[in-house]
Symmetry: C2
Subunit: 340 residues, 2 copies
C-alpha cells in the first residue's frame, strides 16, 4: 500500500501513542474494560477485556482513522481514499463525514455486507474488487485521480498510534484497578493494532502477543523470515484478519517488541465468540473474538496473572451471529457448569 505524506522517519514511538490518546479524547468513546468470572475461571488468570466493539463505527479502527483523517483535514485536504477488509473503511468513512471530507473506500467484493453497508451509510463512495492486488492498484489510481491521500489501514504512523491508544487506556485502567497487565493480546491483520500495543506497553513489564488465524499467518511467517512475507489468505471466519501481508511499519516495530504469535482456528474463535456473547454479554466479530481465543491459549502456559485483550470490533452479520450462537451449545453449557 502507498503511504501518505508525513510519516516520521523512524516510525511512531510510545510518546506518539500518548499524544494520540490525548488528541482522541472526546472524539472516540473511552470504552469500558469488562470482566467475566466465567472467562477468568476458564483462563485460570484474570482477563481484562477492552470493549472496542462499543467504539464509534463498531471497532477500534475509529481511533487511527480519526487521527489520520483529522490531520489531513487540518492540512487542507478535501478527501481521502482507503482500502480495507471492512472496519478501517467504515472508520475512515465516518471520520471523513465528521470533518466534511469526501471518502472513497475500496473493499473486497466478498467483504462482510454489514461493513459495506455501514461505510455506505456514512456517505463514502464504495468500490469493490476481487483480489488484493486489484484493490491496491485501484486505491493508488483513485488517489492519483482525485488528489486525495491514502489512509493506509495499518502501514501508517497515525493509525498505529491511534490503535495503540486503545491498548494504552487498557493498560492504564488495569493499573488504576490495582490489577496491572503482565500480558496484552491483540488479533493481527496488517499488524497496526499489535504494533500500537507494543508502543503503548513500552517501558512496562508487559508481554505483547499477536493472534492470527491458521493459514492467515503473515506475521508469524514474516517474523520467521526476518522480513514482511505475504501469505495467500486461507478461508477463515475472521474476515478482518485476512490482509495478505503484515505492514512494513508495523513489522519494524513488532519484530523487536512482540513476544510471540499464537495461531487459532475457526473452532477456537467460535468458542471465544460464544464466551464473549453469553458470559460477557457483548457482541464480538470473529476477528475480535480471535484475540480472546489466543489469550486463552497464552494463559494456559501458566506464566501470567493478568492478561489484557483488546476486543477490536463487533461488526458481524446477524446470520453469522445466529450460526455461531447455536453451534456447540453443549460446549458453552459445560463452561457454565465449570463455574460450579
Amino acid at each position: 500500500m502507498s503511504r501518505i505524506d508525513e510519516p516520521g522517519p523512524a516510525g511512531p514511538v510510545r510518546a506518539d501513542v500518548e499524544e494520540a490518546a490525548r488528541r482522541l479524547a472526546g472524539q472516540v468513546v473511552r470504552t469500558p474494560v469488562l470482566r467475566s468470572p466465567a472467562i477468568d475461571r476458564l483462563a485460570g488468570v484474570r482477563v481484562l477485556i477492552k470493549a472496542e466493539n462499543l467504539q464509534h463505527g463498531g471497532s477500534y479502527k475509529m481511533r487511527g482513522a480519526s487521527l489520520a483523517v483529522g490531520r489531513l483535514a487540518a492540512g487542507g485536504h478535501g478527501g481521502v481514499v482507503a482500502q480495507s477488509t471492512g472496519n478501517h473503511a467504515v472508520a475512515v468513512a465516518l471520520a471523513a463525514r465528521w470533518r466534511g471530507l469526501a471518502a472513497t473506500v475500496v473493499l473486497p467484493a466478498d467483504a462482510a455486507p454489514t461493513k459495506v453497508a455501514r461505510a455506505r451509510a456514512a456517505g463514502a463512495r464504495i468500490v469493490l474488487a476481487d483480489t488484493a492486488a486489484e484493490r491496491l492498484a485501484l486505491t493508488r489510481e483513485l488517489s492519483a485521480a482525485t488528489g486525495h491521500p491514502v489512509v493506509d489501514a495499518y502501514d501508517h504512523p497515525d493509525v498505529i498510534a491511534g490503535q495503540g491508544s486503545a491498548s494504552l487506556e487498557l493498560i492504564e485502567d488495569a493499573e488504576r484497578a490495582g490489577t496491572p497487565l503482565d500480558a496484552l493480546v491483540l488479533p493481527v491483520g496488517g499488524g497496526g493494532g499489535a504494533a500500537g500495543a507494543c508502543l503503548a506497553a513500552t517501558g512496562r513489564p508487559i508481554e505483547v502477543y499477536g493472534v492470527e488465524p491458521v493459514g492467515c499467518d503473515s506475521l508469524a511467517r514474516s517474523l520467521a523470515a526476518g522480513r514482511p512475507t505475504p501469505v495467500p489468505p486461507a478461508p477463515t471466519i475472521a474476515d478482518g484478519l485476512r490482509p495478505a501481508c503484515v505492514g512494513k511499519l508495523p513489522f519494524a516495530i513488532l519484530r523487536t517488541a512482540l513476544r510471540g504469535v499464537v495461531r487459532v482456528d475457526d473452532e477456537q474463535i467460535a468458542a471465544a465468540f460464544r464466551l464473549l456473547l453469553l458470559e460477557l454479554k457483548v457482541l464480538a466479530e470473529p476477528s475480535g473474538a480471535a484475540g480472546l481465543a489466543g489469550a486463552l491459549r497464552i494463559a494456559a502456559d501458566g506464566r501470567h496473572h493478568t492478561v489484557g485483550v483488546v476486543l477490536t470490533g463487533g461488526n458481524v452479520e446477524a446470520e453469522l451471529v445466529a450460526r455461531l450462537a447455536a453451534d456447540r451449545f453443549a460446549q458453552v453449557t459445560s463452561v457454565e457448569g465449570a463455574a460450579a
Copy 2:
C-alpha cells in the same frame, strides 16, 4: 410474598436510593451508559442505555440483592431464601456466596435454564415448582423451616432502593454528559425497578414509564383498578416479566409517581433485541430488550429529547439468541439502510 423484618413504615424515598448507591459503590459494577446512532435515528430522540446486562450476575437485580443480603448478613443471619423468575435468584445466590450465607432459591420449573444454572453455580440450593402459588407457599415454608428471612424480588425497600441506584447512575451520567433525561423507561415485572426509578427521578423533570409484555400487564391493570391486581401470565419471550402481580410496595410508589405504562408484544421485543445486539453490540435478554421496545414507542410521541432506558439484564439461552438473531433479518437490514 412475605416481607422481611425491617421495611420503613412509609416505604423507601429518594434518599434511600442515594444511600443505596453509596453503599453499593465497589460492590457492583458502575455499568456504562451506551448509545448507538442507529438507535437514535430510529427513535428520533437521543437514547441513553444503561447497560446493566454487564452487571455482576448479568442483571441489575444484583443491586437490590446485594443491599438486602448485606444488611441481613450484618444483622447476623446465616442464610436467605428468595423466590424469582430467575435473575433475582441468581443475584441473591451470588450476594449470599460473597458473604458466606446459605441461599435457597425457588424458581419456576420452566425458568430459563441459564438462570437456573447460574444460581446453582453460585452455590445456592435450587427448588423448582410449577405454579406461582406453589412457589410462594414453598418460599414461606422454607423460610419458616430454616429460620432464614425471605428477600422478596420486588416487595422490599432495599430491593427497590438498590434497583433504583441503576436509574440514579443513569440520570447523573446523563446530566454530566450535558444530555439530561426527560424520560426514563424500565421494564416491569414486579415493579421494583420502576419504583426505584421513580424514587431516583424525584425532584427532576423526568417522566418515568413502565413497559409490560402484552398479557402480563398487572401494573397497567393495577393502576386502572387502583389496587394491586393479579393477572394470569400470558406466554411471552420476556421470561423475567411474568410475575403474576405487581408488588404492594412498588405499587404504592408507582401509582402516584409513574407517568404511564406501555405494552409491547414479542415481535417488538425481538426487534429491540436485534437493535441492541447488532447496533449497540450488547446481549440483552428479552425482558431487558422490552425496555427499549417501550422506549421506541414512547419516543414516537415526539414530546421528548433524551430518553433513558435501563437495560436490566442479559441472561439468555444460546438457542434463543440464535433464533432471535436470525429471525427478521430483513427488518434489521432495513434499519441499517435507514442510517444512510
